[in-house]
């Protein structure tokens, strides 16, 4: 092996350092987001979702439903979350296209218990996805804890969504970080009841960033491009965003 090949290999392995293993990505259905994410959500990784307003919980739940596929979905919530943001309604999940029979809810007393439960859940490779809800910025959720979550997720291929309500972004081991708010539906839309999210991908360790207007389609249980009313249309003959590896910044 010559020097340049060796260097290239080293560079590649350095670039891959700390990233979860390469499982086939789960497409979200939103073309631009999938392009930026490199095909979709990568299983066995940690995703942080920061909330503004009331909507991020639903966004995280919908991503988790997609990532879980036909496997069980664990939702870990401290009791405070249910008091503040409402209890999980299985009928609501069904209406959004999920399957309540897959959902297992773990209610914990506080964030520390929630993290302990998450580590238990991540030890099983038969879990589809884990949604972990944490309020504020508890001390127990530091860089070490998030690194541990990411490693455990990578080991068994369980996708973890960490929903942070009322928190500021801080250093973490997450693969992606999202800022999510609700977006009004387009005045011309008939199906305005389907949730629309203004999702900003503010950090991505393996690719580019972007702002997406994502609308959930409960029938097919996937996201789609929301009609924002802007004049710029999605090009028909090429991808809207260049693939992540071709882009330069």
């Amino acid at each position: 092996m010559n020097k340049s090949a060796k260097l290239a290999e080293l560079r590649h392995s350095l670039a891959q350092y700390g990233l979860p293993p390469d499982w086939p990505a789960v497409a979200t259905g939103h073309p631009q987001a999938d392009a930026v994410l490199g095909g979709g959500l990568r299983p066995g990784s940690l995703h942080e979702i920061f909330a503004k307003g009331w909507s991020a919980g639903s966004f995280a739940a919908l991503l988790a439903v997609q990532a879980a596929g036909s496997k069980p979905l664990f939702w870990i919530r401290p009791d405070y979350e249910a008091m503040e943001y409402g209890a999980v309604s299985p009928n609501g999940l069904l209406e959004l296209g999920g399957d309540p029979r897959q959902l297992i809810l773990v209610r914990t007393r506080n964030a520390a218990d929630a993290l302990a439960a998450a580590n238990d859940v991540l030890a099983s490779p038969h879990v589809g996805a884990l949604l972990l809800e944490v309020e504020g910025m508890p001390k127990c959720l530091d860089l070490v804890a998030s690194r541990r979550l990411a490693l455990a997720a990578g080991e068994n291929g369980v996708t973890v969504f960490l929903l942070r309500n009322g928190a500021q972004a801080e250093p973490s081991a997450a693969l992606t970080r999202w800022q999510v708010t609700a977006a009004p539906s387009h005045p011309g839309d008939d199906d305005w009841g389907n949730p629309v999210f203004d999702a900003r991908l503010t950090r991505h360790r393996a690719g580019g960033l972007g702002n997406f207007l994502m609308k959930w389609n409960p029938q097919d249980a996937c996201f789609e491009t929301a009609n924002s009313g802007a004049v710029v249309r999605t090009p028909a003959d090429r991808p809207a965003v260049a693939p992540a590896r071709q882009r330069r910044a």
């Binding site: 069904l94 029979r101 609700a182 009841g193």
Partner: protein, 499 residues
């Protein structure tokens, strides 16, 4: 069951006034219990307290605390669990121990009786005991001829010389027997049972027959009898965690070999730790599926021990550890399955067991559908361990292709909102204020009218609206009652958050 003043030497006790416990019955104070010294002075149980005071001066009087007595009796019963699993309370001051098949473990009945009484006496209680074929015979003998052991079938003979007070029947019956000149149980037993039954009632005859050993009366156990039980006794109390773990594992292995032979598995396991000083601690674990693997049993037990709020305190050490399969169920034949779905299901079951043990079974939940229109009752969260969750279909409310009609999150209690004027008299408000924030309604759909089930007395009617605010948040509001009913503006509530 009277605590003796152990720390007070006899000669000092003589200078103290005799102790009497008082109790209020029929609006008068009576002697409830008394010391041996007080008894020598002519006082007796049930005597009016005023009489006792008149007879003996000075007298130390304390009020009875029946609740504390009951707790104490329960604790002694807990301690007695080490001799047999079937211990029954004979309130207020007695215990029945069913020692069927257990006496040989303690060196025969004589040795067992003296051991039990000595060890209870050693803890500072006045105790009397007896062994007989039926519970009531043993009770009568313990109270009137303590220390006697009746060989099988000889109850009538031993009971006969006891006075009629040993029958422990009510005053009226006692008086009737005395009037008839019957002084001992033997004399009563000689009468025809039909005569007694006519004069004193059938329960009296049943009692008499049980006491004479002619009839059996089952005991009421304090705790459910376990299906299987293993235990380890230690000559020297054990303190270290290592030995406790090792003995738990060996007991689990023993249980599992029996379970395997019988084709069963444990659903409910209980480990009891008997401390040398008499305290008993129990931990129970529940599993979703019949369990047989000793390693898994040990792991679950250890997890539960780690999760205890106040950790297991060995104190001076445990002299007996017991592992019970309180509930054992038949297992389906363990076919070696190469089906990955089946394996995954089982692994998820184990995971749910682990989480349930660690955080409490009510904290790990799944949902079951309910056949009702009331939104907050339509899906009920139940402990995930207990139910099999396949096959219950969930009814979809929305038409295919329509947006969702039920929110993902329901507030635990609908919160009242300050609603602005409606668009139309029957419509949703133009704006509302919820949790100090103003929300302007951009779009709304409704009403979806949900009324309380007709068979309930206090029905309500709610008109639900799905609304989208100007900044894109989607809420589920309802108006309580009909519009302008009785001339009052209706109340508006926010119940759910769509997305």
């Amino acid at each position: 069951m009277r605590p003796r003043a152990k720390d007070a030497p006899e000669n000092i006790a003589q200078f103290k006034a005799p102790l009497v416990i008082s109790h209020k019955a029929n609006n008068a104070l009576h002697v409830y219990a008394l010391e041996a010294r007080a008894q020598k002075l002519g006082l007796y149980k049930g005597q009016p307290l005023a009489n006792a005071r008149a007879m003996v001066q000075p007298l130390e009087i304390m009020p009875a605390d029946e609740r504390a007595d009951a707790t104490l009796l329960e604790n002694i019963a807990d301690w007695c669990d080490r001799f047999t699993p079937l211990v029954s309370l004979d309130s207020p001051d007695g215990l029945f121990l069913d020692i069927t098949g257990a006496a040989h473990l303690f060196g025969g009945e004589t040795a067992m009786l003296s051991m039990v009484t000595q060890r209870i006496a050693g803890q500072g209680f006045a105790v009397r005991g007896a062994i007989a074929g039926t519970s009531l015979a043993a009770r009568a003998l313990a109270r009137h001829a303590p220390g006697s052991i009746v060989p099988p079938g000889c109850e009538a003979e031993k009971i006969a010389p006891l006075p009629i007070t040993a029958l422990d029947c009510d005053d009226k019956s006692l008086r009737a027997l005395r009037h008839a000149g019957l002084k001992t149980i033997g004399m009563v037993a000689e009468r025809l049972h039909s005569e007694l039954s006519e004069r004193l009632g059938k329960p009296f005859v049943t009692r008499l027959r049980v006491m004479l050993g002619a009839e059996e009366q089952p005991l009421l156990p304090r705790r459910p009898l376990p299906d299987l039980m293993t235990e380890q006794r230690f000559a020297e109390p054990v303190v270290t965690e290592k030995i406790i773990s090792a003995s738990l594992l060996s007991m689990a292995e023993c249980l599992s070999s029996i379970l395997e032979r019988e084709g069963r598995g444990a659903r409910l396991l209980e480990a009891a730790f008997f401390r040398a000083d008499g305290k008993v601690e129990r931990i129970a674990i529940k599993t979703g599926e019949p369990l047989r693997d000793p390693k898994v049993m040990l792991r679950l037990l250890r997890q539960k021990l780690d999760a205890l709020v106040d950790p297991l305190d060995p104190g001076f050490g445990f002299d007996l550890i017991r592992l019970e399969a309180v509930l054992a169920e038949e297992t389906k034949p363990a076919t070696v399955s190469f089906d990955s779905d089946e394996n995954a299901r089982r692994q998820i079951g184990y995971l749910i067991d682990r989480l349930s043990i660690r955080f409490g079974e009510h904290r790990v939940q799944r949902f079951v559908p309910q056949d009702t229109h009331i939104p907050e009752c339509a899906g009920v969260a139940v402990p995930a361990q207990d139910h099999d969750f396949d096959g219950q279909p969930w009814p979809l409310k929305r038409q295919s292709g329509d947006p969702p009609r039920r929110p993902l999150r329901l507030l635990q209690k609908p919160e009242e909102i300050k609603a602005g004027l409606p668009w139309a008299p029957d419509g949703p408000p133009k704006y509302f204020r919820w949790r100090q924030c103003r929300h302007d309604v951009a779009r709304a759909e409704g009403p979806e009218r949900i009324a309380m089930e007709w068979w309930r007395k206090h029905g309500y009617t709610r008109d639900y609206f799905r609304v989208e605010t100007k900044d894109g948040q989607r809420f589920w509001l309802y108006r309580d009652g009909l519009y302008r009913q009785n001339g009052f503006a209706p109340h508006w509530y926010l119940q759910g958050i769509f997305a």
